[in-house]
Symmetry: C2
Subunit: 87 residues, 2 copies
């Protein structure tokens, strides 16, 4: 399946979360990831994410589409994912 993951989490936890999500998905913009992932790997990623975040203050939203081709993507402005200067 194809997923888009967005998170809004406390500054202290961003670095760890970024490192964690990059093991599974592609970073495309500040706090935004996308990519193809299996159900098992998604469960694994989310279990790990839950250990990182403070569920009372942080927010993760995952959009799941059965296939990437059901999702058209348009970019306006610069395409961040080619740079590593983010946090």
């Amino acid at each position: 399946m194809y997923v888009i993951l967005v998170y809004d989490i406390g500054e202290k936890r961003v670095g760890k979360m970024l490192k964690h999500c990059r093991k599974y998905l592609n970073w495309i913009q500040n706090s935004v990831f996308e990519g193809e992932i299996t159900e098992i790997k998604l469960k694994e990623m989310l279990a790990g994410a839950k250990k990182i975040i403070d569920e009372d203050n942080d927010s993760i939203i995952i959009f799941k589409s059965r296939q990437e081709r059901w999702l058209a993507k348009e970019i306006i402005g610069i395409e961040r994912m080619t740079t590593d200067n983010f946090l």
Copy 2:
């Protein structure tokens, strides 16, 4: 069609962008909007957004799905969209 819009833009432009996008879509998380929108309204929104952002430094990504039901959504942690204390 159903869209997810994420933006990563300069702090000075966030307020204006937020106000603009809220006219068309639902704010769900810091810099993230979603909602049902027509092709014409999407064009109108993006034309307005282009006037707000600095296309050399800012980034907007729009994911378009022909139907909301092709997109399953999962939230971990708190659901921000019920609060207005954001910028």
